[in-house]
């Protein structure tokens, strides 16, 4: 996975993509899995372990807030509140919209749904 991370970083810097190396690396790994060049069993256990401890990985950057304490001393309470409200609206809109689209799909293309479902589950095996 580290290898793919570096490949991703390399591709990103060579092509000047507006994405980070980690996301490019993930897309590359995803494609190689789909092509069958990389087996799921090679890294699945490791990836599950890494992701279940994802929170640990955020701790050092968040501890970095220490250097921003001045920001909180200034009169920024309203901005922070606004930011929270905006985030919550975002969360609500995207969840509601996606749920609505899911039910819309189910009611309008029930037949198509069944076919794609079968198709992809056989592909998965």
């Amino acid at each position: 996975m580290y290898g793919f991370y570096w490949i991703g970083n390399l591709i990103q810097s060579v092509l000047h993509l507006p994405l980070t190396g980690s996301i490019v690396g993930m897309l590359v790994l995803f494609i190689t899995i789909q092509l069958g060049w990389v087996k799921m069993s090679w890294g699945e256990e490791g990836s599950t372990w890494l992701q279940s401890h994802l929170q640990l990985l955020f701790i050092p950057p968040t501890v970095g807030i220490i250097n921003h304490f001045d920001f909180f001393r200034a009169n920024t309470l309203l901005l922070v509140l606004g930011l929270i409200v905006s985030t919550l609206i975002t969360c609500l809109v995207s969840a509601k919209l996606s749920e609505w689209l899911m039910s819309w799909r189910l009611s309008h293309s029930g037949k198509k749904e069944a076919i794609t479902c079968q198709h992809s589950s056989s592909e998965l095996e």
Binding site: M1, Y2, Y5, P18, L19, T20, G21, S22, G25, M26, L29, F30, I33, M40, G43, E44, G46, S47, T48, L50, Q51, L54, Q55, L56, L57, F58, I59, P60, P61, V63, G64, I65, I66, L78, L79, V80, G82, L83, I84, V85, S86, T87, L88, I89, T90, C91, L92, V93, S94, A95, K96, L97, S98, E99, L101, M102, T116, S120, E123, L124
Partner: protein, 230 residues
């Protein structure tokens, strides 16, 4: 050499706080006790009291942080495993995420402008719903203060994972998958970490929403700045 030993010590310290914090959260399940919050709070307290500088902590911290890259890369595995769920939900994912991305930027900008913040601050705020590494690059690109951006991203992440699920429950969102999409598009990787409570499908959807928001943000942000400030 001493830097190396200090680094190992800081990693050990982080893990020593993290493990009991995780146990506590598993037992009580209070959102405010999420390990990332409690561990960060305790570590800040330790650093402030003992007078350890942030740079010293980061000798070890940067190694933990380094793992974020491979962790994002490793998402390719759950994505492959849940490909059928993603294929079935491609329209809700794209629609929900882009809708969220547009509301996120416009409400954020509106609030900051109404409060009378200067241009630099407003621009720094725009990428708040995009995952940190991408947001920092974006802020630099459109002329915002990157260190404020990373702070805003964190606030967005934490407020989303703390209050988001309560709000969605109150708004009667029933689908666990929609929880994943909402958290992923509003609170990026932290939202994704929280989605673990809603099952593997929610995590897969959440990670895709995070990626789609990052891509949508990268494309739309310069456009937004241009629209607001011409």
């Amino acid at each position: 050499m001493s830097a190396f030993i200090l680094g190992i010590g800081m990693i050990a310290l982080t893990i020593a706080v993290y493990i009991p914090a995780t146990r506590l959260y598993k037992r009580l399940k209070w959102p405010i006790l999420m390990p990332v919050l409690t561990t960060t709070a305790i570590l800040i307290l330790i650093l402030v009291i003992s007078g350890i500088k942030l740079d010293t902590y980061m000798l070890g911290g940067k190694w933990i942080q380094e793992l974020l890259g491979p962790a994002v890369v490793s998402l390719a595995f759950p994505l492959s495993r849940h490909l059928h769920v993603l294929k079935q939900n491609i329209i809700p994912i794209i629609g929900g995420t882009i809708g969220g991305s547009i509301t996120g930027v416009s409400t954020g900008a509106l609030i900051a402008i109404l409060l009378g913040y200067p241009q630099e601050m407003v621009i720094a705020l725009l990428p708040k719903s995009v995952t940190t590494p991408v947001a920092i690059q974006l802020a630099n690109q459109v002329g915002g203060n990157a260190s404020f951006t990373s702070l805003f991203v964190m606030i967005a992440g934490f407020s989303g994972i703390l209050l988001g699920p309560m709000l969605l429950k109150w708004a009667k969102v029933r689908s666990k998958n929609a929880y994943g999409i909402g958290l992923g598009s509003a609170s990026h990787a932290l939202g994704m970490a929280r989605s673990f409570e809603y099952g593997e499908n929610a995590v897969a959807l959440s990670s895709v929403s995070m990626i789609v928001s990052a891509i949508a943000g990268s494309i739309m942000l310069p456009l937004w700045v241009w629209m607001i400030y011409g």
